[in-house]
Symmetry: C2
Subunit: 543 residues, 2 copies
């Protein structure tokens, strides 16, 4: 038989016809994100193994295809499944959804790209495991590996997923397959247990990059604590933010609060998680941004910030010590400080009406969120991701699919020093820019470490409403630019912004460009994805 | 003026004559390690700035020099200051010893290569800082940056120094200077606060590598805990090791023991830290290895393992909770469990004679080691590094300098899963191989995480005694090989072993080779240092 001369035919011959889709309906799905995109998809392929991924890369090299690998395509707000480059072949890795290895005693698990947060949580539950994986605010059917590779964050211990993973298996743009960390020594007892191997460590090059298609990695899991307490509080006095931030930092420095274990939300973020924007029947917005805040539950009226945190304690006595120190350091600066542990939780369960009155909000919801089904304990949740429907006119669909439902969402991910002055400056930019575009500032902070907070600004809009699409885009671009200029560069980028950020260190850009050539000389993998290509193209002539 | 045609003259013109040494005495110093080496040094240069380092690299490229950068040259047991390649110009960075930046609130410090552990500890003390840097078991005048780049370990929180550093400034083999992590965006507020920047992260390539000369990095510091308790224990019943290891792992999983906060020492390791080998007057060794163990202090007689640990607690109540859980989980399996906190320490101070009796060892030494000057709290110590003189005949010099004193030392650094079966298997290999070469097995483990332990096997000998040099070398090589074959590959290498380890993943080797060419195309920096060169040379023909 002659080798196929048509790339789609060649892909079909390689993967089987059922695993190559080029029909209009499928392609359209992969061309839809939560904001306007122009990139067209030529085909979608569904390999089932590392060998098949290598075969796809080989064909891409032969035919000059532009591949765009996705794991589950739930990168809402940053591009969903849409490729960075026009006329791409999407490599959808959902069929590679095996949990390859699991070790309860050494608390680690090895997964393929298609494994979702829900799948892994269910797997651990079915094993009766005492471990959990920190989950994202995003949807339960997002890919664990995909989120990790994008340097996504989870709640609670080991939530800095990129720092809690190792032993990547990756197919380079050359078609070669490489194993990182201790994986370089083959599949021995140490391969999934350390971040680095011997000598130069290449793992870091494979996150937020387009050098390879990662087909497997090992993640470290956290132990379910003996005692868990959910914490909620509000900051009502603007002057209290400074001492509250200092108290939170000290609590983390002293080890009472773990990394990624508290979040500060502004009221708009909170509202977007429990309701949709209260449009009038004719679709008109509220007369003023202030009116919106009257929709807060009574207990939170007047709050500038709403805090949620988790205490992970090794014993009952530790839980008491943690609670006591938290009350002592944070208590004086916040309102409505509630700590839900085992005993409070059972008390709440039996005194719902009374509790509702005290808290001014639904105690069942509070219980689920802060204690029994807390995302801080690895329970995948839709609580946060449903806010994607915030400005969508009409009710939400029961099954969230913001790409299909033309929800509008931009995400601006930056980081700031863990200090009040930076937080205030950063928040003021986000607020001013959002309100300036007649959109809601939806803002939260998460403690990445005792040194810095990650910040997530959500720009939600309705893609079907008037001029919201273009307003939101301008809002996003301005916010990203102003935050960068103020010293808070992005930590993640949407596909629409890959050419809008220029590191000051030109040697760094040049080095990334050379590395791309080394790993993927024919540029077959995810062109433009985190490669600072605008700069690359400028200097491309001199090679 | 004509440009110099002699490289030494060119270096002198560039750095000043005082900062280029080519005399025999200086060169000899840089040719001495704690084991036999053959590499000769052509000159030593002492640049004082990043610009001067760049100038040196430029000259190396022009003249085809082999540079070998060292920070302080205290890499005892792994090669000290001696280059991997013959006829090298050593780039001694000791003059670059500035503490460039320090932030008490955000707990980080930026240092140049010449900054030592003692210097940084003194600096923090002079500032009245509430922070400390985890220290090494090695000498106080070792370089903080050098230790970090070699992926060295410290005791206590943030002891995994490579994972607790960021924002490297590095001069590549091309002569270019690059900044990693958030440093790519220039000197903004975020530059020293996060491990990664945006897009592919190159930092990992600069540890244990020869791609660049690192001239600066930021290290994260730990907060001095409100309550500190030193812990000591012994394991006398061989059957108790399994449950003790399980208890220690559980204590770490539950957060009571932090990473790098406990060490397990075998009795030979303990002895080497408090005495020298008890040679007879004529230099004869003991009749049997067992006789050595009678030199243990009474309290530790019969111990198979000696444990030291630290509890870092956020408050008095936390300290009580930590102590209680440690006693509960570990207590049943160990002997002589002692926990020295604030109150016990003062009690000990006032009851020395009685305490000596109870403990069977010097209470002052115990106090210093476990509490008031604990290396677990960032106090640089000679306690561990003096063991380099273990087999040296005659008394130690007051100022430790094992290179000068012809102490013999090989170090075998590996890692094992945090499980009893692996520990037992690993320890048995070390013991058998050491005793087989009539040397002492000197072995310790440190908890890198709840998943793995790092292991340090010390092979101490006297370079002036009979055949010890060659015996020790054979012992080292066999130990490294047997441990690798058993699934425990090295995590650091001595300069004599750079060509003795072959990762199973040949693509990985090939990739490191290509990366070396990209970063240092003329091979001017530290040839052979962690570049798996033997494999490189084999495939060198095909480019």
């Amino acid at each position: 038989m002659e080798p196929a001369t048509d790339p789609i035919e060649a892909l079909r011959a390689c993967l089987g016809s059922a695993n190559v889709a080029a029909d209009a309906a499928t392609r359209a799905q992969y061309e839809s994100a939560t904001f306007q995109t122009e990139q067209r998809v030529s085909a979608v392929v569904y390999p089932d193994s590392t060998a098949e991924v290598q075969a796809v890369v080989a064909l891409a090299r032969r035919f000059g295809l532009a591949l765009y690998p996705i794991s589950r395509g739930r990168n809402w707000g940053l591009g969903s499944r849409v490729p960075t480059r026009d006329e791409s072949v999407v490599v959808d890795l959902r069929r590679m959804n095996r949990i390859v290895d699991f070790d309860e005693q050494l608390s680690c698990v090895t997964v393929e790209p298609g494994v979702t947060f829900q799948q892994l949580a269910d797997f651990l539950e079915s094993k009766g495991s005492g471990l959990y994986l920190s989950v994202i605010g995003g949807p339960p059917d997002a890919s664990v590996l995909g989120n990790t590779l994008e340097r996504g964050d989870g709640l609670g211990p080991l939530g800095d997923r990129c720092e809690s993973s190792c032993a990547l298996e990756a197919v380079l743009g050359t078609g070669e397959c490489v194993r990182t960390g201790m994986g370089m020594f083959g599949p021995g007892p140490m391969s999934g247990l350390m971040a680095t191997g011997l000598g130069p460590e290449i793992s870091g090059l494979l996150f937020q990059s387009n050098f390879a298609i990662v087909t497997r990695l090992t993640l470290w899991l956290a132990r379910i604590p003996e005692e868990f307490q959910g914490v909620a509080f509000a900051i009502k006095d603007p002057a209290a933010l400074a001492p509250a931030v200092a108290a939170l930092r000290e609590l983390q420095q002293r080890g009472v609060l773990k990394a990624n274990s508290f979040a500060l939300w502004n009221p708009q973020k909170f509202l977007a998680s429990i309701m949709q924007y209260p449009f009038a029947a004719d679709g008109r917005a509220l007369a003023s941004p202030e009116q919106l805040l009257s929709h807060l539950p009574p207990a939170l009226r007047g709050a500038h910030w709403i805090g949620m945190a988790a205490l992970y304690s090794a014993s009952k006595l530790h839980a008491r010590a943690d609670r006591r120190l938290l009350r002592q350091l944070l208590g004086p600066h916040v309102a409505r400080l509630a700590i839900l542990g085992r005993s409070t939780a059972s008390w709440l369960r039996f005194t719902r009406p009374f509790a509702a009155k005290v808290l001014g909000m639904d105690p069942d919801q509070m219980l689920r969120l802060l204690y029994s089904e807390s995302p801080f304990l690895g329970h995948p949740t839709k609580f946060s991701s449903q806010s994607v429907y915030w400005r969508k006119r009409g009710p939400k669909a029961p099954e969230l699919d913001p790409d299909r439902d033309r929800c509008g969402l931009h995400w601006v991910c930056t980081a700031i020093p863990f200090e009040h002055a930076h937080l205030a400056k950063h928040a003021a930019i986000v607020e001013r820019v959002a309100l300036g575009h007649e959109l809601e500032p939806n803002l939260s902070y998460l403690n990445l470490s005792e040194r810095c907070l990650k910040s997530f600004a959500v720009i939600a809009f309705d893609r079907d409403a008037d001029d919201e699409e273009s307003r939101a885009r301008r809002c996003h671009d301005q916010m990203l630019r102003e935050l960068s200029d103020a010293g808070y560069p992005p930590v993640r980028l949407g596909i629409q912004s890959m050419d809008k950020v220029t590191p000051a260190d030109t040697t760094h850009i040049e080095l990334v460009r050379r590395l791309k050539r080394l790993f993927d000389p024919l540029d077959v993998i995810a062109s433009g994805h985190y490669d600072f290509r605008h700069a690359w193209m400028v200097s491309d002539g001199d090679t």
